[in-house]
Amino acid sequence: METRKVVSTQTETLPSKPVVREIDEVVIRFVGDSGDGMQLTGTQFADTTALFGNDLATLPDFPAEIRAPAGTLAGVSGYQINFSSHEIRTPGDQPNVLVAMNPAALRSNVADLEEGGILILDSDAFTEGNLGKAGYKTNPLKDGSLAGYRLFDIPLTSLTLKAVADTGLGGRQATRCKNFFALGLVFWMYERPVDYTRDWIEKKFKNNQQIARANIQALQAGYNYADTTETFTEHYRVRKAQLEPGTYRSITGNEATATGFITAALLCGRPLFYGSYPITPASDILHELSRLKNYPVKTFQAEDEISAVGAAIGASYGGSLGLCGTSGPGLALKSEAVGLAVMTELPLVIANIQRGGPSTGLPTKTEQADLLQAMFGRNGECPVAVVAPATPADCFWMAIEAFRIATRYMTPVIYLSDGYLGNGSEPWRIPGPQALPKFEVAFRTQKEGFLPYQRDPKTLARPWAVPGTPGLEHRIGGLEKEDVTGNVSYDPLNHDKMVRLREEKIARIANDIPEVKILGRESGKVLVVGWGSTYGAITSAVESMQGRGLSVSSIHLRHLNPFPRNLGSILGRFKKVLVPELNLGQLRLLMRARYLVDAIGLNKVQGKPFKVSEIVEAVEKLLGEV
């Protein structure tokens, strides 16, 4: 994971001839077969763009199959990037540029391309066979159906083969370099240097010089092709964004999540234990953490999700930061065990990277439909804290926050990210040590007067007394506990008391978390309330409307249980409350029940994030009604 710093040096490679147009925001989408390396192409363009100094946001889009048969619609994989000279928060509603490596990719994406947008195609790929697989009756390159776009149909494959010919690389392997040819071409169009990608290729294929050379030559050839041929009459300049000074890196939500959890371990001096069973889109957290063996983290790939959470509970009991990560179906399986952690009052974090449901649903698509499961998906009165990051980089902060709460209140905390956050990336300003939250954990060691369920009067947390501590030998378990002693108790009034104590303990966390901040005026006509990954779209929409002088404000919840203490009073100050969610209204239900506010839902369950325009539309409609 660790590589040397790369310093951006675009200047040398600036071409002369064609017209240079200044623009301040571009959305590009790369689409092709799962086998075409579109994710790689996109990441390389994103990293280079980040190094170049633009602000950016990305949206990868995988098929559920590993490699559906080449050329079929099912096999199409895509990567969208929005980059700009000003601050941006979403991968963009609509691509300005579409790079499509075959007919299937074109067919399933061209509708999204803006009118008059740039369309780059591999003309070599438009064969009878591929057109058939994509379900084209006629060839779009010929039937004029693409007239509305600025079409560049370039024989990418054959050009690539030429470019790599002298490496001796043959057939399929040679063809597979064509994504780099396309990348080089797009680099040129947007004045990005090829250096970073060249270095990356060298490193990646250091054990296979032939492949390395071929890819680099393809990359360079693509760049040169654009530079030298007359194909492109203009290219584009997107100036650096004015970002806050500091050191930056580009980071995905899953990387930020993993980094945040280890940071929590380093901050509080307790090792991290990660129990997990692979599941899309959470697996990358396991991959990431299992690589960091020189950090205080141990990973355990369990036989299933129940084992993963059980092991995490065992580790927490032993004094580690017990963590498990999964996605919706896995969270369902953990339900019973999370209840055990609630009863035994151990710190535990369950990271749930949400995906499309119900059931197996849409494994590779994003959704926010596990909030109510997180709140109520357990037997009995079984409260846990719930937090949710708002952006890929915010995953870092909320991961730390999850363990701060878990250890301070001796409680399970469910951390709700989603596929869009997990796979999406953005530039992240690396915080200095001083910017990190202070956060300490202490074990009970004193023997005198030790009682396993005697609570801290402020937090109601019970002591964390770990095995190996002489004199504190005690027994805990899933049966109801006697107040203070923690012995098994079937006493009716004790049960009632304990149920309310557990509830109260979670409620008190509200005293310990920041009030939610309002974006815009303190009161007005419409308040937009969001949580999780909808932050970018909501904020962009609200800011743009505020720019137009509309009476709309927004708040974004990163703590879902308990709610920030000022939430209720804020809701009261607006005529209408709109709650956009990638579900059928789960936060809305919680707010209505708690505050009896007639919150209105904007609900999209398409496995995709909101477009800014969708939120603007909904707010304008509401404003019309006020």
Binding site: E2, S250, G310, S320, L436, I476
Partner: protein, 346 residues
């Protein structure tokens, strides 16, 4: 083979059986076999020289799983079938602890079967005691995965339709490095076996025949009863021929892969003809063969069936961490946050 005390800092104070009984009143039915097992475990503990605070008993749910409450050590009465998962997480994160899993035939082989299997193949250094009473006790008498075919119980009034599972066979197929069997009523044999279990490095699994005198009374009496025991059970001893019987006159001989009960002296059969037990065999085939011997066709074997040595998961994990740290240097916040390609905006 390193003893489980490694990691304990001070030489442990001399402990007695009493030190290991908690203040909780034992709540098993009068006459339950669990009492005897508890007594033997409490008896063995002091001899291990492990400080009390480094010992953890983890159980699932069932009568047997109440066990931890009665041990004056650390204890975790978890949820049904999941004890091995908690034990795994605890062992990996705290390798110096001595971790004991107590489970039942339902807890360990029905709902918890999968966790048991995977804990075993990972060879975590944990001790697993399976109390097999061939019934669900706590839920008041339904059949379990070890109940005999055709057994009539509350949930099988016409008899079960299921072949019981053999706990030892499952353990062997799961690459468990130590597999044994004992009986609640044979306290001497039980203590000896528990002692072996405690001293094994790696996952040690022992099936303990346990009488549930309320819902399955006398399940094992046919061969465990004092008077018949020596004729109907055989105690396995490493390197010794398989001899049994009050008069030590019966033995087991292999005919190809088929075991036969023979009488010493009869048609010139001598000890030399008998199968010799080898708990350290490279492959668990012999142990598997022995695990298939059942009364009345054969004497029921007890003792250590198999005893192999293989790296423990938690040790490999530690080693990998050490190597990585040696190679890359210990990770720091600074390095963690700044890893990957970074750039500076001024």
């Amino acid at each position: 083979m390193s003893s489980p005390t490694e990691g304990a800092v001070l030489p442990p104070p001399k402990l007695t059986k009493a030190d290991f009984s908690s203040d909780q009143t034992v709540r098993w039915c009068p006459g339950c076999g669990d009492y005897s097992i508890l007594a033997q475990v409490q008896k063995v503990m002091p001899s291990l020289g492990i400080p009390k605070e480094n010992i953890v008993f983890i159980s699932g749910i069932g009568c047997s799983s109440r066990f931890p409450y009665y041990m004056n050590t650390y204890g975790f009465h978890s949820i049904h079938g999941r004890a091995p998962t908690l034990a795994s997480g605890l062992k990996i994160s705290r390798p110096e602890l001595s971790i004991w899993v107590v489970t039942g035939d339902g807890d360990g082989l029905s709902i918890g079967g999968n966790h048991l299997i995977h804990a075993m193949r990972r060879n975590l250094d944990i001790k697993i005691l399976l109390f097999n009473n061939r019934i669900y006790g706590l839920t008041k008498g339904q059949y379990s995965p070890t109940s005999e075919f055709g057994k009539k119980t509350k949930s099988s009034p016409f008899g079960t339709a299921e072949q019981p599972i053999n706990p030892l066979g499952v353990a062997l197929a799961s690459e468990c490095t130590f597999v044994a069997r004992s009986v609640d009523t044979d306290t001497q044999h039980l203590t000896a076996t528990l002692d072996r279990v405690a001293r094994h490095k790696g996952t040690a699994f022992v099936e303990i025949y346990q009488n549930c005198n309320i819902f399955n009374d006398g399940a094992f009496e046919a061969f465990t009863a004092r008077d018949v025991r020596s004729d109907r059970m055989i105690s396995l001893e490493h390197g010794k021929p398989l001899i049994f019987g009050k008069e030590h006159d019966k033995g087991i001989r292999l005919n190809g892969l088929h075991p036969e009960v023979v009488t010493l002296g009869k048609d010139g059969i001598t000890e030399k003809d008998l199968l010799v037990h080898d708990e350290n065999a490279t492959e668990p085939t012999l142990a598997f063969l022995l695990s298939r011997l059942t009364y009345p066709d054969y004497p029921v074997p007890v003792g250590v069936f198999y005893n192999a040595s293989r790296p423990c998961l938690e040790d490999v994990v530690e080693k990998q961490a050490d190597q990585a740290t040696a190679k890359l240097g210990a990770g720091s916040l600074e390095r963690l946050l700044n890893s990957g390609a970074t750039w500076t905006v001024s």
